[in-house]
């Protein structure tokens, strides 16, 4: 069958399944917006420049969360399911199924970031041109790629029961030290020291370049590509290890 049709079929199947689990969908999509309301809004109201910056941070925060959890926790839980074994007997390639998973994560990620943007539009003096919105959307989506791969690496190296706590810690620590909740210059000294070496910080630099000068989108993009390659290698080794154990 046509691979694109199958991507759509698999995307819809996963979307349907997740959409019918409100306990999954509401926290997943709503969490970044809630966090933004609690910790971002009080500062974002002060000026347009601050609002722009904080909204960009929370947009990135949304995508990091959704991709890490979709791949880290989602894949970890599924790799042992009987249903996964059944899917492997269907005439559909692993690449097609992966593409479907990425589509699902991006749809949820965009929904979560969209809620943050909506909140910012309604409640803060955020001030973006149409072009800026467009660039932000593009950067937010592309910059999420290394986190998809990081999620996969976690999924294949951490036991299914460990995937949730490990993902949570990685997510929250990296978000904090990456500067999503407070600008890097206000970070405590240890966090400030490790910050430049985190993928979240580079993701931040990328999206912040839409809001203000002084952030180098090109360097950030290169760093994210490097992180992506590193995570892809770690994930691929873990995947092969799991394949050998489960399907040798």
């Amino acid at each position: 069958m046509n691979a694109l049709i199958l991507v759509r079929i698999h995307t819809l199947a996963v979307l349907r399944e997740l959409m019918r689990t409100p306990a999954f969908i509401i926290p997943t999509v709503g969490f970044p917006a809630m966090f933004f309301a609690l910790f971002g809004l009080p500062y974002a109201r002060s000026s347009s420049a601050t609002a722009d910056f904080i909204m960009c941070s929370y947009a990135a925060f949304s995508l990091v969360g959704v991709t890490l959890f979709q791949f880290g926790v989602g894949v970890a839980n599924e790799r042992g399911r009987p249903w996964e074994r059944y899917l492997r007997t269907l005439p559909v390639s692993i690449v097609t199924r992966f593409a479907a998973r990425v589509s699902v994560a991006l749809i949820f990620g965009l929904a979560a970031a969209g809620l943050v943007a909506l909140e910012a539009r309604l409640l803060t003096p955020v001030n973006f041109t149409a072009a800026q919105w467009l660039v932000l959307t593009g950067y937010t989506l592309c910059g999420a790629a290394p986190f998809v791969l990081l999620g996969i690496a976690i999924a294949y190296w951490v036991a299914p029961r460990g995937a949730m706590p490990v993902t949570n810690i990685v997510y929250l620590l990296c978000s904090f030290a990456g500067g999503f909740w407070m600008p890097p210059q206000y970070l405590p000294s240890i966090a400030a020291a490790v910050s430049p070496y985190l993928p979240t910080r580079q993701y931040g630099e990328l999206v912040w370049s839409v809001a203000q000068s002084g952030h180098d989108a090109r360097t950030a993009a290169l760093a994210l590509v490097a992180f992506g390659i590193a995570f892809a290698i770690v994930g691929a080794v873990g995947y092969r290890r799991d394949e050998r154990a489960r399907y040798a």
Partner: protein
């Protein structure tokens, strides 16, 4: 349709299959029998491309089991259902069908396994028996030449199992080749045109159900009366009845008449599949 040639497979020190060979031609309905741990599931997993044989050659319609070509030629049921709970019956059957070139219609597949009324129910709300039927619908909706069923009726009560057999028989027509595993001999007898028995990883029997009985099935003469003198071992006395196990029941009856022993209520019975099976596998299932 299936080539399974000198296949061996070990998991660490455990030898799951050792040098097992069988070819299956188009149109055959084959029961793969064996007690738990015999190697049935390993054989099916190798055919499905879920595991690799350590040695030997495996082909599905001339293709390697892992290849897309092989996978488009065959369909399977999951052994443990474990469906995505929140999808409906119709959705999951449609999902399976959409991977194949010329599937049956979804309605047709639902009808074949009496699932029309459950079509809009979520999989998580179905009973075990209903889920087994959905699993079978998933294997038959693709309408591909080869269907592999791993323990299609495990966990069902006797009545549901018989119903399932009827539905299976109705779904299999001349152009399907079916290989199913089971540990119910009755199921093999009800559905299969050929029986393959594996035990402890080795092939113990391969032939028609008739040959199977003839080779392993001893017959019994059972009557009210005295036994023939001079026969030991195979003679049992149950109350006033004599039960004699012998390969040639006709000869025994002839001798009985010749010896002038009075008897009545004489019956000749064949041992059941279960008895035969215990005999082959050494009463260890």
């Amino acid at each position: 349709m299936i080539r399974f040639d000198n296949v061996s497979k070990s998991y660490g020190d455990v030898r799951a299959l050792s040098d097992v060979s069988f070819d299956i031609a188009a149109g055959e309905i084959v029961a793969l029998l064996g007690p738990n741990g015999a190697g049935k599931t390993t054989a099916i997993e190798i055919l499905l491309g879920l595991r690799h044989a350590d040695e030997g050659t495996v082909e599905i319609a001339g293709h390697l089991p892992q290849s897309m070509e092989a996978r488009s030629h065959m369909a399977a049921t999951p052994q443990n259902t474990g469906f995505p709970d929140s999808l409906t019956v119709r959705e999951v059957v449609t999902f399976a069908a959409s991977h194949y070139r010329r599937p049956r219609t979804v309605d047709d597949a639902l009808r074949a396994f009496e699932l029309e009324e459950l079509a809009s129910k979520r999989l998580g709300s179905l009973s075990g028996g209903q889920q087994r039927r959905v699993a079978l619908a998933l294997a038959f909706v693709p309408d591909v030449p080869l269907v592999l069923l791993d323990e299609p009726s495990t966990g069902l009560d006797v009545e549901s199992r018989r119903r399932l057999w009827e539905q299976l028989r109705a779904s299999v027509d001349g152009h399907h080749t079916v290989l199913f595993t089971t540990h119910y001999l009755e199921e093999a007898e009800a559905l299969a045109t050929r029986i393959i028995v594996i035990d402890r990883g080795t092939l113990r029997f391969d032939g028609t159900p008739d040959t199977f009985r003839r080779r392993f099935g001893s017959r019994r003469v059972d009557y009210v009366g005295e036994p023939l003198p001079g026969r030991n071992g195979e003679v049992q006395r149950v109350g006033d009845r004599t039960v004699v196990t012998t390969a040639d029941t006709d000869a025994y009856v002839r001798e009985l008449v010749r010896a002038g022993i009075a008897f009545h209520d004489l019956r000749i019975t064949q041992s059941s599949f279960e008895d035969i099976f215990l005999e082959i596998t050494g009463a260890r299932s």
